[in-house]
Amino acid sequence: MYNKNFIEFIGVQKSYDGENLVIPHLDLCIRQGEFLTFLGASGSGKTTTLMMLAGFEIPTKGQILMNSQPIQDVPAHKRGMGMVFQNYALFPHMTVEENLAYPLKMRGLNRTDIDKKVKAAMAKVHLENMGKRKPLELSGGQQQRVALARALVFEPELILMDEPLGALDKNLREHMQYEIKQLHQELGVTVVYVTHDQSEALTMSDRVAVFNNGRIEQIASPDKIYDLPNSPYIAGFIGENNALKGSLQKISGTTHRVDLGEGVSISLNRNVDSCLSPAADKPVTVMIRPEHIHLQTSKHSDEVTLSCTITDKVYLGDHTRLIGRLKNGNTIVAKIIDDLLTDETLVGNAVEFGCSEENILLFPGYD
């Protein structure tokens, strides 16, 4: 029903100074109606990409299409995209109402329509009684809502938000995340959202695009990104991961062994990616999430065992973090639910960590 290729970036490249490529090569499709988040470390090119979409920066190379039409030559004010800026960018000399009426005035609507729409927008973000105030007379959260309402009031098809919640405290941020998500579902509008907060990205988005050095490392739904990261970078960036360096050997058929050095190894009885199945030794990075590790009491056939010495134990309320050291010196972090701890899980004691084979991720090379 929706256009799958609402927005397309085709081979887009961007350099500010003509030398350094901030965006070396970007291909991206944005689906109509989706909530897409750009997630990435500082300086990874999220804002740059958003600004090119908004029309404030020009791609050095490549094309951006909207509904299959190139939009390079459409100036920002004719693109009709709603935008929410990090520090809100409300007009300080205008009241809340005037701020909201601004885009409607620019579109030449008449007074009665403007009043009606402004009222409706204020109701949508729960600011009914604030119309006559100036932005500086509002709290951060209220200013944020005005900015949101102003970007929605002219009913754009696409809304761009660059770290809109960055300046709010944690509680308010979570509340606003919920409200933005609600508005997205209610209005069916397409949202492109920039953040470097991964939990925000995971909770709000239909899809997440993870940026790294100006490239999209992976673009997928939050659960895919979390469970099936396609690179050690993603595995390490999203959530927590234990990364172990080893070399992969094929024993026979589907039996593989990963040698982690100094006599530590894990054996896997499953298929591995074709790019990983060599005849000889192959360097691999093994990734295991702390929450996938449990205390092994009796060994199941599809489990691997890691024998450690407990070096630290941190109580965190709903769970306990156990930090263990393998014989080869690597540390392993495990998240264990409190009920499962025994009298024997003490610092200094030996422990058997277990993990089911399907939760062990292998990546070629060392990150």
Binding site: A76, H77, Y102, M106, L136
Partner: protein
């Protein structure tokens, strides 16, 4: 105890030099004010008596009033021109990172730095070719050139507090660059523009050197009239006019300080 004494002495010296400096700057000005109320016609103390006759003379029709009118006329026109040109120039430089920005700024404020005699001489030859000497048109253009740098500087300073994101926000909401300028930028930098305009007006109002080169008998401005007055017959009417000009300068300064304060308090986001 000892430390406190040091601080105290430091403070005293501080005040002493501060007051000395102020006296040094304004004593000559204050010294002449009483002369304008003299009832005699010589510039000397003690005053023979007090009267307002020189003010009457200056503000009754005659060469003084004509030259005041000329000054206001030239001042207003060149202020409007300088303000418009200076504001646009400052905005252009603030909006884009023009790489040659510094050299352009240098050119724009050159008339403020180059000695007026040189500017005057240059304009005299150039305007002579163009037939603009001894005309109001020429004088207004010349004063505009001299006054624009003041507008560029004050507006540039004001634009440094202006968040360019607001301009982008306006664009994203559908405002063309021209509309965004008039609806968002202009209202927010208005205090800066106003104080730039005040400076521009004062520059033109006080200007003498270039006027001497370019002005004909019909373009006798107030400073020109005073200049001639000093040469020909020196009487307290010139002092009365000077006091009037001081009053205007004082008002201008106060207004501009007030505008600055207002722009700082009102729209400072973080």
């Amino acid at each position: 105890m000892k430390h406190r004494n040091h601080v105290l002495i430091g403070q005293l010296i501080h005040y002493f030099f501060g007051i000395l400096m102020v006296l040094f700057l304004i004593t000559p000005l204050i010294a002449i004010i009483p002369l304008s109320f003299s009832s005699g016609s010589f510039l000397s103390y003690p005053l023979p008596g007090l009267s307002l006759r020189w003010y009457q003379e200056v503000f009754s029709s005659g060469p003084w009033l004509d030259s005041l009118q000329n000054s206001i006329f030239v001042g207003l026109f060149s202020t409007v021109l300088a303000t418009v040109l200076g504001t646009f120039a400052a905005f252009a430089m603030a909006r884009r990172n023009i790489s040659a920005q510094r050299s352009i700024l240098g050119f724009l404020i050159a008339p403020m730095i180059v000695p007026p005699v040189i500017t005057g001489l240059g304009m005299y030859f150039l305007f002579g070719q163009l037939g603009l000497t001894a005309s109001f048109k020429g004088l207004v253009i010349a004063h505009t050139v001299l006054a624009t740098p003041f507008v560029v500087i004050t507006v540039t300073a004001n634009l440094q507090n202006f968040d360019m994101k607001l301009f982008r926000a306006a664009s994203s909401l559908g405002a063309s660059p021209v509309r965004a300028f008039f609806t968002i930028v202009l209202p927010l930098i208005m205090p800066g523009i106003m104080s730039g305009a005040l400076f521009a007006f004062v520059t033109s109002f006080d200007e003498i050197v270039v006027t001497l080169f370019l002005g004909g008998p019909a373009q006798r401005t107030l400073p020109r009239q005073m200049f001639d007055g000093i040469r020909d017959s020196i009487d307290p009417s010139i002092i009365a006019m000077s006091v009037f000009l001081m009053l205007i300068a004082l008002l201008t300064l106060i207004t501009s300080a007030w505008l600055n304060q207002r722009s700082k308090n009102k729209y400072m986001t973080e």
